[in-house]
Amino acid sequence: MRIRSRAAQWVIAFALLALVTGALLPFRSHLGGAHVTLALLLVVLAVSAWGGRLLGMSVALAAFLIFDWLFLPPFNTLLVRNPLDWLVLVVFLITSLVAAQLLYRARAERAAVERAEASREADRMKDSLVASLSHDLRTPLTTIKALAHELQSVGDERTFIIEEQADRLNRIVNDLLDAARLDQGNLPLDVQVNAADDLLGAVVQHVAGRPDRHRLIVSLNDPASLSLGRFDFVHSLRIMANLVDNALKYSPVDAQVEVSAGVENGMLVLRVADRGPGISADEKERVFTPFYRSAKRTDSGGSAGLGLSISRGLAEAQLGTLISVDRKGGGTTFELRLPAVETDAIG
C-alpha cells in the first residue's frame, strides 16, 4: 500500500493509535501495564515501519502520554502514584523511540540497497547496449571492408577509398564507445608493469601497412636499459595511437613525427613531437575538451573531436598526465607521463 500524501499518513497513524486506545479504554481497570504497553508498542512499530522516523517518534511520544494519562492510576491525570510505574513509563518511552529509530534505519538501508541495485542494473543495461551497438556497427563495416578489398584485385582505385572510409567510421565508433565508458566512469583498468619497448613496438605496429608509416621515427632515450612503467597497456596504446594519428595528420606530408620514451624523475615520459601548425597558448588546455575543434584546422580530420579528451581521461585514470607543449623549431609535442618502475625493483 502506498499512501502518497504525508498528511494522510499522519491522520491514519493517529487514527490507529486512537482506535487501539479506544478499544483498551473500557477495560483499563482490569489491564496490567504490560498489556497496554505491548499493544501501544505494536502501534508504534507498525507506524515507524510504514511512516518513517518523524511519524514513528511522534506516535511513540503520543502513546507515552496516552499510557500515562489514561492507563496509569490515578487515571485521567499525568500524575503517577506508584514509583514502579515510573520505571514502566520510562522503559516504554525508550523502547518505542529506539524501535522507531531502528525501523527507520532498516528502511533507509533497504532503500539504499535498492538504489544501488537499480544503478547496477542500469550499468549492466548500458554495457550490454554498448556491446550490441559495437557488434551491430562493426558487422556491416567488416563486410564493406572485405568487399572493397576483393574489388581491389579488379584494379579499381576507388576501392582503397572505400576501405579507408570504413576504417574511419570504425575509429569514430570506437571513440564514441570509449567516451561513453569514460563518462560512466566504469572503464576497466588493468595496470601492470610494462616495458616502454613493448608500448613503442605496438605504436609501430599501429601504423604498419600505412603509406605514411616511414614518417614515424620511434626511439628510446636510453636504449641500453629497460624503461618500465606501471600502466594499462591497452589504454596507453590508445592514447599513443591517437597522438600519432593526429601528429601525422596535421604535419606537412614530408615532415617526420618523432616518438620517444624514457624515465625522468620517477615518471615514464612518452613524447609525440610533430611539425604541425602548433597550438596557441589559449588553446593548450582547450584542445582536451570534448568535441573541441581548433580554428586552424578547417577540415574535420575524420574524427568526432573526441580523441584528445578521451586520451587525457585515459591518462588520468591510470594516474598519469597528458599535456601539450610547444616544440622547439615549430610544432607541438604531446607529453604522456605514466608512473615509472625502478628496474632494480625487478627480481
Binding site: A146, D167, N170, D190, D197, G201, V234
Partner: protein, 231 residues
C-alpha cells in the same frame, strides 16, 4: 598433403561469404553454418582442419561453442570478435580458441592468421624432432639451447621457459594467463608473474634485431603474446 578443409560458423550471410572467398585459395572446401548448433554438427561430421567462429551467434555463447568443440575436435579455431573489450577474447583463448581477429578485420590479416594456424595443424601431428627453427632462431629442446644465427644465446631459466612455450606454440596467441601457468609452476604464482611483460622485454632484447620492431614475439595488446609462424 591434400588441401585442407574449413568451416565458417557465422549468422551473417555476407560475412560467411566474405570469409569463404578469403579462404578459397588455401582450402579445397569451405563449408558454412549459420548457428552454433549447426556449426557443432558440421564440425563433427566434416572434421574440418580450421574453424572460423563468430562470437555474435544468436543461438549460443561463443565461449560455450568453443569449449564444446575443444572437447573432441583438434581443428584450429580462429575467432571473429566484434567486442570492444579484450576480456572476451582472453576467455575464448583460454577456452581453447587458437587465435582471433577483430572486426572489421583486414582480409590479408585474416588469411595470414589462418595460414599460420594451418601450419600448426599440419606440423603438430608429425614429429619434427627436438629442434625448432624459426628464421635465424634455432631451439634445441633436448640440449636446452637457443641459438641466433648460429650463436648461443644466454637465457635465464625463466626466459628459456618463456621462449620455449612461445616457440612450441608459434602462430598461436597465448594469453598472459596461459603463459603464467606454462612458465611458472602453479605454487610459485604471484610476485614473479607480474613481471611477465618485463621478461618478454628482456627476451626480445636478446633475440630481436630491434626490440621495438619485433620479428619473432608479437604483442597482442591486452591479450597476450604470439610467436611468429615459422615455416
Amino acid at each position: 598433403m591434400a588441401k585442407p578443409t574449413a568451416l565458417v560458423i557465422d549468422d551473417e550471410d555476407q560475412i560467411r561469404r566474405v570469409v569463404r572467398r578469403a579462404l578459397a585459395d588455401d582450402f579445397s572446401h569451405v563449408s558454412e553454418a549459420g548457428t552454433g548448433v549447426a556449426g557443432i554438427d558440421a564440425a563433427a561430421s566434416e572434421k574440418p582442419d580450421v574453424i572460423v567462429l563468430d562470437l555474435g551467434l544468436p543461438d549460443a555463447n561463443g565461449i560455450d561453442v568453443c569449449r564444446e568443440l575443444r572437447k573432441w575436435s583438434a581443428a584450429a579455431i580462429l575467432v571473429l570478435s566484434a567486442r570492444h573489450d579484450d576480456n572476451e577474447k582472453i576467455a575464448l583463448l583460454d577456452a581453447g580458441a587458437d587465435d582471433y581477429v577483430t572486426k572489421p578485420f583486414n582480409t590479408l590479416e585474416l588469411k595470414a592468421r589462418v595460414r599460420a594456424l594451418l601450419r600448426r595443424v599440419s606440423t603438430s601431428g608429425s614429429s619434427t624432432g627436438t629442434i625448432i627453427k624459426c628464421g635465424e632462431l634455432s631451439m634445441d629442446l633436448s640440449a636446452r639451447t637457443l641459438t641466433l644465427g648460429g650463436e648461443l644465446l644466454h637465457l635465464t631459466p625463466t626466459e628459456w621457459e618463456l621462449v620455449r612455450v612461445l616457440m612450441i606454440n608459434s602462430g598461436k596467441t597465448m594469453t598472459h594467463r596461459q603463459l603464467f601457468s606454462a612458465v611458472w609452476p602453479a605454487k610459485s604464482a604471484g610476485d614473479a608473474q607480474q613481471y611477465l611483460r618485463v621478461h618478454v622485454a628482456n627476451v626480445r632484447r636478446k633475440i630481436e634485431a630491434n626490440p621495438i620492431e619485433p620479428q619473432y614475439i608479437f604483442t597482442e595488446p591486452g591479450v597476450g603474446y604470439r610467436f611468429a609462424s615459422c615455416e
